[in-house]
Symmetry: C3
Subunit: 275 residues, 3 copies
């Protein structure tokens, strides 16, 4: 079969304007055989962590060789660098503002290059739309198998932040945060089974406090809860989610992105001091 490269797009551009269409046109002008897949364009505007979450949750499902373009770029036109990151399986093209941080955290080996080879750019380069003039064409040339080292020198001082981690807050007590609310109103926390193995044990003694609710059930499927019941569940993203069967946990609990979530185990749970 002929080479049919895949390029994915993850941005905060929304889909109401022409921005994404222009990017796709530029890509197809350079690499007409490319298959362009939208991951999402609904990253919260200017929210680099939200973009980092989105790409980290989707990139690894794509075939080896896929080029992932990630543009959440409040610093467009400033000194922030455009970068090309290559892992063992994937290429990432993005601004150097940390939006790839959660990719760096999951990949064993990543080589990051500062993209400086401006003969691959669309000219003239707009100061306000590098997605169209820098990131899209670089991704298209990568899809055409141009060697990554041709785009610029390797750097090791690229921007990388740690995702917010849950913190222990006294004995048998841990505090986390809601990373995002999904389409169904599920509250995705930053707590993983590795953080609190006991929470996902056979018959845990625990309490989760979030918003105006205290939660005492862990379920393994959304449909296991009674309708409207709020419970904890290990979601497909690998995090503890607060969910409700056919209901929006965000609405029921009054919690949202950034809300605090506390998990109390054993005696701390029995003592009942929520926050």
């Amino acid at each position: 079969m002929s080479h049919r490269p895949i390029i994915t797009l993850t941005t905060d551009f929304g889909i109401n304007d022409h921005f994404v269409g222009a990017m796709k046109g530029v890509i197809l002008g350079i690499a007409p055989e490319a298959e362009i897949i939208d991951i999402t364009h609904a990253v919260q505007a200017f929210d680099v962590l939200d973009g980092a979450l989105a790409i980290s949750q989707a990139y690894s499902y794509f075939p080896n060789g896929t080029v992932h373009v990630v543009v959440v770029d409040p610093g467009v036109g400033s000194e922030r660098r455009p970068i090309l990151a290559a892992s063992d399986g994937y290429y990432f093209v993005a601004p150097d503002n940390g939006v790839l941080s959660l990719v760096y955290a999951r990949e064993e080996r990543v080589h990051v290059r500062h993209i400086t080879a401006d003969h691959y750019f669309r000219q003239p380069v707009s100061q306000t739309f590098h997605a169209r003039d820098v990131f899209a064409p670089v991704a298209a040339y990568l899809a055409k198998l141009v060697d990554s080292h041709k785009f610029g020198e390797e750097v090791d001082d690229y921007v990388k932040f740690a995702a917010p981690k849950p913190k222990t807050a006294g004995e048998n007590r841990m505090r986390g945060v809601v990373l995002k609310v999904d389409r169904f109103g599920n509250l995705i926390t930053n707590i993983t089974p590795a953080d609190i193995p006991a929470l996902f044990a056979e018959k845990p003694s625990f309490k989760i406090v979030i918003g105006n609710r205290e939660i005492t059930q862990i379920r393994s499927a959304y449909a296991e809860g009674a309708q409207g019941e709020v419970f904890g569940i290990l979601g497909s993203m690998g995090y503890l989610e607060i969910a409700a069967n056919r209901g929006a946990a965000a609405q029921i609990t009054g919690a949202g992105k950034g809300s605090e979530v506390s998990v109390l185990l054993g005696e701390a749970a029995a003592a009942g001091k929520g926050a």
Copy 2:
């Protein structure tokens, strides 16, 4: 020309999260030559009838051999079965909760299989994201021309519901319901020409009562009405729609999804008793 299979997606996942992107990645990992087309991801959350309507309105426009994936799946992770339905022209991959009911109603012959061949699944299978781990890979293998009988045994007790039908309510009087409101505010009712042929006759004597309005015009194009006028029209979905020229009938009438619509013919219309 080489085989280029088409896979369509109809879900209630929205497009703000990574869910759809992950599904597409899984599909392309198995069937890199597949063309993936979004029908819609805006089915009302958990609303199986809304999903049934969406796929029933779009599937038949695609070429023979298309694989349609339909995921509105409040029972994910429970005992509900994943199924594969094959009609003369199409494959459908979906949870067995009735979301294919309107397809069954339109297709002469459908063979439904309970998908049990878990070596086609992505492992480990998440209890909360079968779209990624079950439906997407099965669709991809179908697109690669794996025989449908390899996915599981045929069943005949699959879930099937009837769409709500309009009811006669006394002589020359029929009551229907608004199935959905489209992007333009048109109210799509469940009334077809077969239900009330007289309504679409040359010069019908009728009255339609919906929301706060009584409607006495049937038009054959949106632009035929005066601006803002509310009228009935046989829409492209095959149902009676309540519409307004360059206006949103839903807003004007105060009616919406689930609202009652009454059609009065002849003397009943003249007598003027709306509801």
Copy 3:
């Protein structure tokens, strides 16, 4: 490489209904090798100027030979003609209501045909969904390299409107209008550097009045402003934009689509009479 035609879609259909899916199905039934790209489906309902802006900002980034389908069509089913416009590089399929006006303004040579060859249509043609039954199949046959002259006779009385231009309003004073607000809350005005070259000069003496704000800074990148500062910038669309660094200028200024924007130069600016 084999012929892989590109068809783009720009509509006011939204993506919550089955409309776009049905169009894509029809296209792939005729031209299975076509690559279909969404530019946007979020043109304001019935807003022909908004559609004209969208396609004019995206079409030229696509490779030569691309077929652009543009459907903002309040007159569907009426006497308005379906047209096929061919420029040196592109085909456009649209209703003849002016939605291609900004394309006509940018292209040197355009030949416009009234599409009358109804054997290329999907039969029966719905009076309410020409996108599915007329525009989609015509685009698909164009993508299959059917000669454009086969679709109908050339016409020269096609509908064409001028985009609203800024007006001089006294000495050193110009009044424009906000054409649209983008995803980030940037206010895209209809003022270009050609209209007021002095505004984009090295050290302009000026004042821009919009909504409740007076603006005295021109920046060349969004990130140059202080956080929340409102400033003018020459945007990627070629127009003066009113923007804010990591903020929504629309919200800050209280201005929106259709709002007036005044630019005062030199003494007029110093005199400080805003409106």
